[in-house]
């Protein structure tokens, strides 16, 4: 067996043969390894690098259906045992965690200290911080708090040759050398395996409210003008997320377009802003307000609307997820376009988009004959406005038929050059990223 040499270095249960059955999401391995230290990750990668093995790193498995056209690599590298908080500096508002730590675990730990890591990705109880950063996942609150690239200040990485490389540092402000952290955010694990991450934190807000506005179907122009008015005002929403009628119905029981505006601040400031909304409420819109725990519960439900990847109990083999990037306000049109397209194709579509940050996500269920045209139509709509559409979840069979990432950019040789420099033998996640990187 190829892995004999590794067998001797690891406990028996740390390297196992993956049962031979086909996984509908692909990105599988012949073996699965569960390293529990940086040293072990390094040993595995070094071995793979020397023996020409292909390695697929994995956190909680929520992104198993994101990218990649191969059914199986040699080795699935699970970071699930490489977890925990390494260093928490409350006074400095920073935390260092191992890559396999779930978002929920980090969130719960910080909550006891009245602080938070303000990234709000899908499935926080499964999604690991390493996976969230590698796939650059984010939620509606990035409007105010930024996304992974804004919060990540340092990494410990294992390069494919086994070297441990640190990038950035542990302080919140740092311009020494290149900002190498950025290379790994959204790199889909194609460059190195993330071992530890240091992130900026924020104090938990003293008070939280969530205003949900409902607009009659078809009236997305009204949403646009109201969102524009909010952005041009001095109120400071944490989210300004537009929901398709189907999504609003699922979360809020109203089959109308929704506009979800969160406020997180001291209580007086939150109340003032809610009052502001009431004063400026557009004619046809209705408003309901959730506060404190109720608002949190709403966000918990929101984090569960997307496919949860490889996680047991999920049967989304005919569901796809799309991430669309656009100019801020174009997100509203993206939501409306996807919603209408779903109706035309008679596919079940839920969509949301951030009017202040330009990221939209659409989840579609249906037969393959509907999913493929959906991707193509959304993509050409996005591209005609200078944006893009990326398939962030799809079964393997579909990923083999549609380009997950879209056309290569003109500067592709630079991306290829970076990959070749860091991972010359293409050990990590081969063909999982843009242009077959």
């Amino acid at each position: 067996m190829v892995l004999t040499a590794l067998d001797q270095l690891f406990a028996e249960e740390q390297i196992q043969v993956v049962p031979g059955e086909f996984h509908p999401l692909g990105n599988n391995g012949q073996w699965i390894a569960y390293p529990d230290s940086e040293k072990q990750i390094s040993t595995i990668l070094q071995y793979a690098n020397e023996h020409g093995l292909k390695v697929v790193p994995m956190g909680g498995g929520t992104k198993r259906g994101f990218g990649g056209t191969e059914e199986q690599a040699d080795l699935l590298l699970s970071l699930s045992r490489h977890r925990g908080i390494v260093e928490y500096s409350k006074g400095d508002l920073t935390i260092t965690v191992k890559a396999g730590t779930t978002m929920k675990e980090i969130g719960d730990y910080l909550k006891m200290n009245k602080q938070m890591l303000p990234i709000d990705p899908a499935w926080p109880e499964f999604a690991t911080i390493g996976g969230v950063v590698a796939a650059n996942d984010s939620g509606p609150k990035r409007l105010r708090y930024g996304s992974a690239r804004d919060l990540l200040i340092g990494l410990r990485l294992i390069y494919p040759n086994g070297q441990v490389i640190r990038t950035g540092g542990k302080v919140v402000k740092n311009v020494a050398g290149y900002d190498m952290n950025k290379l790994f955010v959204g790199s889909m694990g194609t460059l190195a395996v993330i071992s530890e991450l240091t992130l900026k934190l924020r104090p938990c807000p003293a008070y939280k409210s969530l205003a949900i506005l409902a607009f009659p179907d078809g009236d997305w122009q009204a949403i646009r003008s109201f969102a524009t008015a909010i952005l041009d005002s001095q109120i400071e929403p944490v989210s300004l997320e537009v929901l398709s009628p189907s999504l609003n119905e699922r979360l809020h029981g109203m089959r109308e377009y929704g506009l979800v505006i969160a406020f997180e601040d001291v209580e007086k400031a939150v109340q003032y802003q809610v009052e502001w909304l009431k004063r400026h409420l557009p004619k046809n819109a209705s408003l309901s307000v959730l506060s404190q725990d109720e608002a949190d519960l709403w966000w918990d439900r929101f984090a569960r609307i997307s496919p949860k990847g490889a996680h047991p109990g999920s049967a989304e083999d005919q569901e796809i997820g799309l991430k669309v990037g656009s100019k801020n306000l174009d997100a509203i049109e993206v939501v409306s376009f996807c919603h209408q397209l779903g109706q035309e194709l008679q596919a079940e579509v839920i969509v949301h988009g951030g009017a202040g940050h330009g990221i939209s996500r659409a989840y579609v269920k249906g037969e393959e004959s509907k999913l493929l045209p959906f991707v193509q139509a959304v993509r050409s709509h996005a591209e005609s406005r200078g944006g893009y559409a990326v398939v962030q979840h799809a079964p393997l069979s579909l990923r083999q038929k549609v380009d997950v990432w879209g056309e290569k950019p003109a500067y592709f040789p630079l991306l290829e050059g970076i990959k070749r420099t860091v991972d010359p033998h293409s050990v990590l996640n081969p063909k999982r990223f843009i242009g077959g990187i």
Binding site: Y178, C204, Y388
Partner: protein, 474 residues
Amino acid sequence: MQAQDALIRELAVIVGTGSVLYREEDLISYECDGYVIHKQPPRAVVFPATTEEVSQVVKLLHRRKIPFIPRGAGTGLSGGAAPLGGEVIISLVKMKKLLHVDWENRLAVVQPGFVNLKLTNSVASKGYYYAPDPSSQYACTIGGNVAENAGGAHCLKYGVTTNHVLGMELVLANGEIVEIGGVPDAPGYDLMGLLTGSEGTLAIVTKITVRILKNPEDKKTVLAYFDSVEDASHAVSDIIAIGIVPAALEMMDKTAIEGVEAGNYPVGHPPGLQALLLIEVDGISAGIEDQIEEILKVCKQRNVIQVKVAENEQERAQWWANRKTAFPAMGAISPDYLVQDGVIPRSRLPEVLEKVEEISKRSGLRIANVFHAGDGNLHPLILFDARKPGETELAARVGSEVLKVCADVGGSITGEHGVGIEKQEEMRFIFTEEEIQAQTQIRSVFNPENLLNPDKLFPKPSRCAEVRKAVGHL
């Protein structure tokens, strides 16, 4: 000289004769940037007016294998835009237009030579501003800000340049023009993030799209005087600990206060102070009063001598002018000064300041501390007299010692001024040889012949690396 003349002629064909400097006397002001300790003349300075001209100039230099350096206003403090000798400087000051403002999407598109403060002034009429505010913002350019990933007093709450750049047009080292970013999370590696802060060693930025923000509804500024640096440091930590994220949290020590009071914008701080804090809170008006109350309470618990809230915009502006001109103000109390730029975890502030004080005593050079206390970014100003033999070198050594102290408590050697030529060796305080190599390998992807701002930012390869390289070539 023949070859040089041919080069100048060719450059002039691209940009016009009036846009090339090559005479010795014309090159003097380009011998250094804001880091004045190191001076070398460039071979020539060109002033392209368009992206196409930048591309043509770069193609020419690339073909002739002549190294080149992009330059904005030259306010950089670490020598990033200073020649090491013989490079052609590509000055971007002629490309200084505000190209476009998209109010709905809250972004502005500028050319690299556009001055930072002009952007805020240009969008102020509709209540917007550009957040990164380095102290040199009246002169420094946004292209230079991108190269250095510039910060400023208000980045505690609003982030540094990299958090505000949305798109770029670049001229690569071979003269090719590419556009990156434009929409968030563009598929592919985050080149924009990598480029920001790369100190002009990866590409020349010829167009920048940045985020503009709406002015906060209200802001309040507090000035607090302390008779112990330790009390002031603790007050900083306490403010953060109670859950307030101030827009700015600045500190000056005794020597710095002496400097600013002798400078052009004195406030009339009482004599004998050991430290002062300048604290600004902004946001929704209804919530600010409570936060100010809490800040005042913290200051009192930390034995503040006097604490006051700015009564009007005029007073606030006066306090800020006093702080923002702290560097040049040192000229009033010392013939020369060297600015350092270390970062520490803010919880280690008292202990680090004590060590800086020890270094000052040991070296005999006075050190004034002005810093962004909220994010642990220290700017020790080392006061010296260049006329005294050996004192310039001593000042540089003292600066390096201070950075070692920062690195040893888990900090960094630069928070916003960059590495340039000043801190190349100090990179070893925080990175291993392999980690530095990981970075220079990335440089090679963009700048394979090391023609673009060569030999900056990284230390010279150590002996063992050279040996390895030599073996690799066998």
